[in-house]
């Protein structure tokens, strides 16, 4: 292996950034996919897979995806909550992979909640 230079230290650190955002905190946005039995039955797995794919394809290193239990509104599953740091969390319902992609682009990246898919805005902490 080639000899390590000081510039390499930074490169390695950047490469690891996504992993350590997850472990240390300090992320920009968190997307929680609700995976209760109802959510899974309604297709939450597919939503999660789509989300994970978008995150790993994008250059974004400070967005994390996580799961949570049933959000209580089983009729509107699959659901997801998007929390952008510093603004109120927004719950989205009746999701499809395409809707998830829109939400990621509009809300997570641009910071504008997607009103047409949103169910509720406000503080209901995920844990």
């Amino acid at each position: 292996m080639a000899k390590l230079t000081i510039a390499d230290l930074k490169k390695i650190k950047d490469k690891q950034k996504a992993t350590f955002t997850l472990r240390e905190g300090g992320y920009k946005a968190k997307v929680t996919v609700h995976m209760g039995t109802c959510g899974i039955a309604a297709g939450a797995r597919e939503i999660m897979t789509t989300l994970m794919d978008i995150i790993s394809e994008s250059e974004e290193k400070v967005v994390i995806a996580t799961t949570s239990g049933c959000a209580g509104l089983c009729a509107r599953e699959p659901m997801a909550t998007v929390e952008v740091m510093g603004s109120a969390p927004v719950k989205y319902g009746d999701l499809t992979p395409d809707k998830m992609k829109d939400i990621y682009k509009e809300h997570v990246q641009e910071g504008n909640p997607v009103e047409k898919y949103a169910i509720v805005i406000g503080n209901e902490s995920t844990y």
């Binding site: 390695i12 350590f20 997850l22 996919v33 039995t37 994970m52 996580t66 844990y127």
Partner: protein, 616 residues
């Protein structure tokens, strides 16, 4: 897919490996695969998390959820609930003893809440076998800065200004040590690391070497540059196989990519590093003895001066720093001395790692700011006594070189200066907590046994003196104590301290002196009344069942000699002629109905007869 949504950090320190880390990891990976979550959830083995009492432990990121005592049987349920359905699995979470409520978030658990992590900054966050993960946490940036931007004088000044003091126990200013060696002219100098941790009950350095080997190596590179050395040796005891393995792995990796070897970071600075295995002699933790041991000679101390900074290993200028000291160097260089001084006290800056053991609930590894009161460490972080019905009696600090601190002094802040006033020493960080069932005479005898055995034999006062003291203590605990024994012990102690060459002899009597100082009444009771109030010294006590007995038969089942009679729900009775004072009934009783009484008169001649009865 490179990015995962969740990282499961399982502790792979020696403690958790012993309780089943590898089995749990295999089970977790199998379950995760079964649910097709391999791309989303990553399992990482980390170094010691510190909460050893509850192992195997696992931290889940990003949720910060802490699981403890994970078993292979629980894994399928855990994976299904938490990682598939996203419902944290309460059954394996930490329960706070007083409230019985489940506290899932790691930083809310008092054990973690009061800690400030500097030495253990990467604990549970990185895989100790991955250099990339160490670099991700700013690893080797301090080395790069020291090698390319700083002069040796600047490095030494920063460390001196930070007020870093030797964490091996003596507390000598590390920057000053470096300065002495740096100013000595020589063709060759040595940068050494002391990983010969030998105090009973201490495991701080082992945890650092296992959990974050690169932090020690980086500290050594910076130190080597400061003193102008191109050769380093890490002296580790062979009883620490995992530490040796991880250090070696880290050194090999560094050699491979040029973090060790010639012309590091193109700075023109060369540094080579090797590991030397110690055979586990306690005296080899003493710096001159350690150096003799590396030279292949018998590990014995020699007089100072000449100090190692002038004539050390192979008679060349050498600096020996403790593992924990070295692990603090990189953050000091990177963040500056002001930052380092932001916690701790004026004289004792920064943090200190302690290994909490004994009769305390949260056995483990903790790092607190200097100046934290002992009470906070024992009650808030340590969670108090294991057995809630028992009262705190004393905490032993500094191992065989230290002493016991009684309850009345628990407000003392942990700093080098304050601890030494109590008669104990800061030491390397062993903290053994003892409850009221501990006999202080036996405790000091335990430490004397250790030092008498480990004395290298060079100085007569230490070699013979510790043995004579041990004989006196043995007599006292077996009922042969005489008037004047306490004074003889004190006299001998002062002589040994005054006339021994190295730290081993100079501190060996400390456990005896400090227990006499705070628990003299116990010594007197042993000698004058032949009574060991805690029921530890079998020849000096007897056991009796009181009216509080509920007749539950627990003691009957526990007694190895069938010496307890009594029907269910009837008052039980101990047949004294059969009793061997093993204390089993006392420990078994849930109603504290077994009393410890002075030894019965006839027992004094009885032992021989009792043995015959047994053989028949």
């Amino acid at each position: 897919m490179e990015k995962h949504r969740s990282n499961l950090m399982i502790c792979a320190g020696t403690g958790c490996i012993a309780t089943g880390t590898h089995q749990v990891r295999d089970a977790l990976e199998a379950e995760i695969k079964k649910h097709k979550l391999t791309d989303e959830v990553k399992v990482v083995l980390t170094g010691c998390n510190g909460f050893c009492a509850e192992g195997p432990v696992m931290m889940v990121f990003p949720e910060d959820i802490f699981y403890q005592k994970i078993t292979v049987e629980e894994v399928p349920k855990l994976v299904e609930e938490h990682f598939l359905k996203g419902r944290p699995y309460e059954k394996l979470m930490f329960k706070e003893p007083l409230k019985k409520s489940v506290i899932p978030i790691m930083h809310d658990i008092p054990f973690f809440k009061y800690q400030v992590l500097r030495v253990l900054r990467n604990k549970g966050l990185i895989d100790p076998e991955s250099l990339d993960e160490y670099i991700a946490r700013d690893g080797y940036q301090a080395a790069a800065k020291a090698l390319t931007e700083m002069t040796p004088e600047q490095i030494i000044k920063t460390v001196k200004d930070a007020g870093l003091r030797g964490r091996g126990g003596a507390g000598f200013p590390s920057g000053l040590k470096w300065e002495f060696a740096s100013k000595t002219e020589a063709d060759k100098k040595f940068m050494l690391c002391n990983g010969d941790e030998g105090d009973p009950g201490a495991f701080m350095d082992r945890a650092v070497m296992e959990a974050d080997p690169h932090s020690v190596i980086e500290g050594m590179i910076i130190g080597a540059k400061a003193i102008g050395s191109n050769h380093g040796v890490i002296y580790v005891r062979a009883e620490y196989p995992l530490a040796v393995e991880r250090l070696q792995m880290a050194i090999d990796k560094c050699m491979e990519i040029g973090l060790l070897g010639k012309n590091i970071f193109d700075s023109g600075f060369d540094f080579e590093l090797e590991i030397y295995l110690g055979a586990g002699a306690f005296v080899c933790g003493e710096e001159t003895a350690l150096m003799r041991s590396i030279e292949g000679k018998r590990g014995m101390p020699r007089p100072r001066p000449p100090f190692p900074a002038h004539k050390g290993l192979w008679d060349k200028p050498s600096v020996l720093n403790n593992v924990e000291t070295l692990a603090q160097v990189a953050p000091i260089i990177l963040n500056g001395s002001e930052w380092y001084r932001s916690v701790g006290t004026e004289q004792s800056a920064g943090t200190k790692v302690f290994a909490l053991t004994g009769d305390i609930k949260n056995v483990g590894l903790v790092e607190v700011p200097m100046g934290t009161p002992l009470k906070t460490i024992i009650y808030d972080i340590g969670g108090g006594m294991t057995n809630k019905k028992k009262k705190f009696k004393a905490v032993q600090m500094g191992g065989p070189s230290g002493g016991c601190i009684p309850e009345a002094m628990l407000d003392v802040p942990v700093t080098y200066e304050d601890i030494i006033k109590t008669g104990a020493i800061m030491g390397s960080g062993g903290m053994v907590v003892m409850d009221e069932d501990t006999c202080m005479v036996s405790t000091s005898k335990f430490f004397l046994e250790f030092t008498a055995e480990e004395s290298c034999g060079k100085c007569t006062p230490c070699r013979v003196g510790t043995q004579v003291m041990l004989d006196l203590l043995t007599d006292i605990t077996e009922g042969r104590g005489k008037e004047g024994d306490i004074e003889t012990l004190e006299d001998l102690s002062h002589d040994i301290i005054a006339t021994s060459l190295c730290g081993l002899g100079q501190t060996a009597p400390n456990p005896v002196l400090s227990t006499i100082r705070y628990f003299r009444q116990e010594y007197e009771s042993h000698i004058n009344n032949h009574y060991c109030q805690s029921g530890i010294c079998g020849d000096l006590c007897s056991f009796e069942i009181t009216d509080a007995c509920k007749g539950c038969q627990a003691c009957v089942r526990a007694c190895p000699k069938d010496a307890i009679v009594g029907e269910k729900k009837q008052l039980h009775r101990i047949m004294q002629d059969l009793c061997i004072q093993c204390r089993s009934c006392y420990n078994a009783c849930k109603f504290q109905a077994v009393d410890i009484k002075p030894a019965l008169k006839k027992d004094k001649q009885a032992p021989a007869v009792k043995d015959e009865e047994v053989t028949q």
